[in-house]
Amino acid sequence: MRYSRSAFWLMLLLPAAIVLLSGFDRHSVKPGLKLAGVEYLGDLPTLLADKTGIFRRHGLEMAVSYGESGKDNLEKLKRGEVDYALMAATPFLVDKLLAQQQGEDSDTVVLANMLHATELNHIVTLKHSGIEQVNDLEGKTIGFPLGTNTEYLWWLYCQTNGIYCKSIEVVDIPPSMIGEALNNHRIDAAIIWQPWTARLGAEHGSALSLVPGKNLYAGKWLLVTTRQTLNQYPDITRDLLKAYSEAVNEVNQYPGKAVKIFADLHGHPYLLGQADELHTGLAEVSLDWGLVSEFNQIFQWYQHRRSQAVNEISPLSWISFAPINDVNPLALGIPMPEESSP
């Protein structure tokens, strides 16, 4: 009887000890760093990792802030206000090209692409604007924040739908002011993204309509940091990618849950009713040919925008392959340059 009791306690305590020991390792909290996200449905993994304790579970003491756009986040990153930033590919590439033109080298590097989405951005209008077809846009006024990914998206929309962009007046306007601008007839249409689309829908109801047209845009959402941070905190960077991998899985498996958290946190109650139907794109943590393709396409837009030839770009030099290769080699589809091989 004594032996059987000992065996029982041994079997009970051994797994508990293993769990406790592994738990200690997980909860060894690392130095606090700052991360800048965006109040954007495409950035749900950041929100989920922050608010559901995924960061903490991976030992990360991450101070997360949520800005209005990736362009702002890039600026913060460059100013050193944050250590990691989430943004679309456009501002990142534009920043790189501008620096290249000025003979400088930006310190920022892409750690991973977090999203592949086609229905998060929309061209909206109010019914009284008289815009029902794509061609109805000509001669009208459209508003969106210049310098953001939206500008690239507008070019892509024009190219795809055969619209002469210069016949349409573009007004630089932040997404939070677009509703008011539409009401005031300051603009006839606007390019916005979720959750602003849903917000305008809630405010205007059936008066709001989406402008139809071919949509060739596939949005990317990049996790960017600086080489300085990368060199200083390689482990944290790897843990950050691991945390994002877990958060991505959560979002893909339970998108409705993530949307509800987003709605509650950022004050978008109108999202709660459509949480399970909303398309939030395919969340991912990857470095594949899609990113190279995206860079290539944005480069073409940039060349058209500048109306002049731009020096060849070397996108592989803007990417840090090692962290994602350490965390999930299968997510690395782009061939690594020889000097960057792990």
Partner: protein, 753 residues
């Protein structure tokens, strides 16, 4: 093979099985891990190939920078190297490597990546819009691949995790099962085999007597413990039963001893006769009673000891008991070794199913009891004769007093010698009659004794001349005294008479020559002997008178103390000699025995209790004052006598002597006279009188009326009125009937004086 060895072997096999299971599990896990790693590498390679394929699509649509191309080529070489790891599928590896080379070669040829100076080339005949569309489609394709990669990766991870969990669970379950088996066997060992071994050891300890009080160890409350407890309880019960049996055996032995003691004291033994087997079983005492030894206790052997009538009677009673079921209780005479003994035999039938199967009974030696019974019979007979004798003597003494007294009165009146001769004959006959009644009273122990302490040897010495004259001259008389200081409190006159009587009897037992020996000695009776002879235990003077005469036949010996029984010839004895001696000895609180053998002689022994006081103290009766007879003749005497003749005689005699005589026939009449007359000096009264008041009671009332009154009693048979324990009460003055006129006048004078 016992359970212990089986358990040990199973335990060892379980341990070996557990070790094998662990090794097998580890080997299996390693093998599965190897397969899984190989599959993972393959899937990983497939995914890389997909990426490579997607990359080639991109490179086909867009001319890329040199570093991208270089990385692409490096990737191609890396993939080929990875393919070569799967050398077991060489044909497929070769084919895949060939396709990689074809892709890189085609792209290089078209875009001229090998020439760094070649200009950028767009995909031919494709507009910007088409290029954007193709790029977008390619982008989606990449996303699709990524999504599928996730799907496959997750699924693979799930499968791996599941298979790993299954393996771990299987391993843990197997280990748990093995541990449980070990624990189970250990439990069996601890809770079944160990207690059973302990139980076996306990049994061995008990049976080998090394530890008779050993008990099984009880370790819990399971079935084996209950078995051990029950076993212990059984042992306790067994021990208790053993103790009880020992106690019962002890009690049985004690009872047997007590029974043996009872049998020994009662001289009684049991027997049983089995009718079916003719087996006769008797106790040791039965053999002892019949003087048998060893195992010689057969019924015929015992019955053969009885002779004649006794044998026939015993046989008859047994036969009736066996055949008719009649119980019997009979005393048989057993003559054996010249001795006669009496044996009581009781027999009772014992029935089983209404059939007599046994005769059970006892033999008891009742010789002693029989002797006592005979002694009692004789004592009772003597007692009866004594009472009868006493009653006759009373009346006879009155008659003799009247006859002799009147004859004396007539003697004074008659003048002729011839008439006086006749009166003399009457007086002599009266004297013989008086002797006869004295002997009768002596035998009946009713004669008033006046004992005093005397030295026996002195008394015998003083009597020796008289004794010598009582025997023939040819008979020698020897006196052998061995008790010089022995004293006894006896009536000397009666003692002398008794001794003379014994000597005369001894003399009569011899024809001419012979020898008579008188011996004295001290004899001490213990409690048992004293009780047997109805006397007090203590020291006694033994007086033995022996002769070597003709002796007495045994059948006569028992009756020699009876009155009027004599072995002498006709007119040679009255038959009152030995009986009067016997009465005197018994009245003196002594014992008398006789031993005689025909043709050899007889010894008569009398035992008298030794006196513990000195002669001077015992016989100090004080001085006596003698007064002249003539001074008393003027006194008035009240005579109380119920016998009219005797009353008349006494009155006549006293009046002739000069006394004033008043007569009364009973006590009441006498008291009336006393109340009327105050000049009465002496009361002369009979002791035994009718009317409810005897002489003693009359004297008491009379002296209360007249304290100065003198009293003289007279009696022929006093019973208990004035005699206590055979002796006169203190202060009593008695004149024994029959008395002569001179005796009466002398005693009156003495009383009045």
């Amino acid at each position: 093979m016992n359970l212990f060895k089986t358990s040990r072997i199973l335990l060892m096999l379980s341990a070996v099985g557990l070790a094998l299971l662990v090794v097998m599990t580890l080997l299996t896990q390693k093998q599965i891990d190897d397969y899984r790693a190989s599959e993972s590498r393959l899937i990983e390679l497939k995914l890389k190939m997909d990426d490579f394929s997607v990359g080639s699509d991109h490179l086909m649509l867009n001319q890329v920078s040199a570093d991208v191309w270089k990385a692409f080529q490096t990737k191609a070489e890396t993939l080929k190297a990875a393919l070569r790891r799967f050398d077991d599928e060489a044909s497929y590896v070769e084919r895949a490597s060939h396709h990689i080379d074809q892709i890189t070669g085609t792209l290089n040829n078209y875009y001229g990546y090998a020439d760094p100076t070649s200009p950028n080339t767009a995909f031919p005949y494709v507009s910007l819009e088409a290029q954007l569309v193709m790029n977008q489609v390619a982008n989606h394709g990449i996303a699709l691949d990524t999504a599928m990669d996730y799907l496959i990766s997750n699924k693979q991870h799930s499968v791996e995790s599941y298979s790993h969990n299954v393996l771990v669970m299987f391993t843990l379950t197997s280990i748990l099962f093995a541990i449980l088996s070990l624990v189970a066997f250990q439990l069996i060992n601890r809770r079944l085999i160990t207690p059973i071994s302990s139980l076996s050891q306990t049994i061995r300890s008990i049976t080998s007597r090394s530890e008779p009080d050993a008990r099984a160890v009880i370790t819990g409350h399971d079935e084996v413990s209950q078995l051990a407890a029950a076993f212990n309880h059984m042992l306790d019960s067994h021990d208790e039963n053993q103790s009880r049996i020992k106690l019962q055996n002890s009690q049985l032995l004690e009872q047997s001893n007590l029974l043996e003691i009872s049998a020994e004291i009662a001289a009684m033994g049991g027997w049983r006769y089995e009718l079916k087997t003719n087996q006769f079983i008797a106790s040791k005492m039965v053999r002892q009673i019949h003087g048998l030894c060893g195992d010689d206790d057969a019924l015929q052997a015992i019955m053969g000891l009885y002779r004649g009538y006794e044998y026939q009677m015993l046989e008859l009673l047994l036969s009736r008991c066996i055949h008719e079921g009649e119980s019997f209780d009979q005393v048989f005479q057993l003559d054996q070794n010249g001795q006669t003994r009496w044996v009581r035999c009781i027999g009772q039938p014992f029935y089983e199913d209404n059939t007599i199967t046994q005769i059970r009974g006892i033999f008891q030696d009742v010789s002693e009891r029989r002797k006592l019974e005979l002694e009692l019979e004789r004592s009772q007979r003597i007692e009866s004769v004594g009472k009868l004798t006493g009653g006759v003597a009373h009346d006879f003494n009155n008659l003799l007093t009247v006859i002799s007294g009147n004859a004396e009165l007539l003697m004074d009146e008659l003048e002729h010698d011839k008439d006086k001769a006749l009166l003399t004959t009457i007086l002599q006959a009266s004297a013989k009659g008086a002797d006869l009644t004295r002997s009768l009273l002596a035998f009946a122990r009713k004669q008033p004794l006046k004992p005093r302490v005397v030295n026996i040897e002195d008394t015998i010495s003083e009597l020796e001349p008289i004794l010598a004259r009582a025997v023939h001259k040819s008979v020698s008389l020897s006196i052998l005294c061995d008790s010089p200081d022995c004293r006894a409190e006896i009536d000397v006159t009666q003692f002398e008479s008794a001794l003379l009587n014994l000597v005369v009897n001894a003399n009569d037992a011899m024809d001419e020559d012979g020898e008579i020996i008188i011996e004295t000695a001290i004899h001490e009776f213990d409690e048992k002997a004293a009780k047997q002879h109805d006397i007090q235990p203590g020291r006694y003077l033994r007086l033995a008178v022996s002769d070597n005469g003709c002796g007495i036949a045994p059948d006569h010996l028992e009756r020699v103390f009876e009155p009027f029984y004599t072995t002498k010839g006709i007119n040679k004895g009255t038959g009152l000699g030995l009986s009067s001696v016997y009465g005197f000895v018994k009245q003196s609180h002594g014992h008398m025995s006789i031993y005689s053998e025909q043709g050899k002689g007889t010894t008569v022994k009398i035992y008298l209790p030794e006196a513990r006081v000195s002669l001077a103290v015992a016989n100090d009766t004080g001085p006596r004052t003698e007064l002249p007879h003539h001074a008393l003749a003027v006194a008035t005497i009240l005579v109380v006598e119920d016998d009219i003749s005797l009353n008349h005689y006494v009155v006549t005699l006293l009046e002739k002597s000069g006394y004033t005589v008043l007569a009364a026939s009973n006590g009441q009449e006498a008291l009336e006279i006393l109340k009327q007359r105050d000049d009465i000096s002496l009361l002369f009264t009979d002791v035994i009188m009718p009317g409810g008041m005897n002489g003693q009671q009359l004297a008491e009332q009379a002296t209360r009326l007249r304290p100065q009154l003198k009293v003289l009693f007279t009696s022929g048979y006093t019973e208990n009125a004035i005699i206590h324990h055979g002796r006169l009460a203190t202060g009593i003055d008695l004149l024994q009937k029959p008395y002569k006129s001179q005796e009466l006048q002398a005693r009156l004078a003495q009383a009045l004086g």
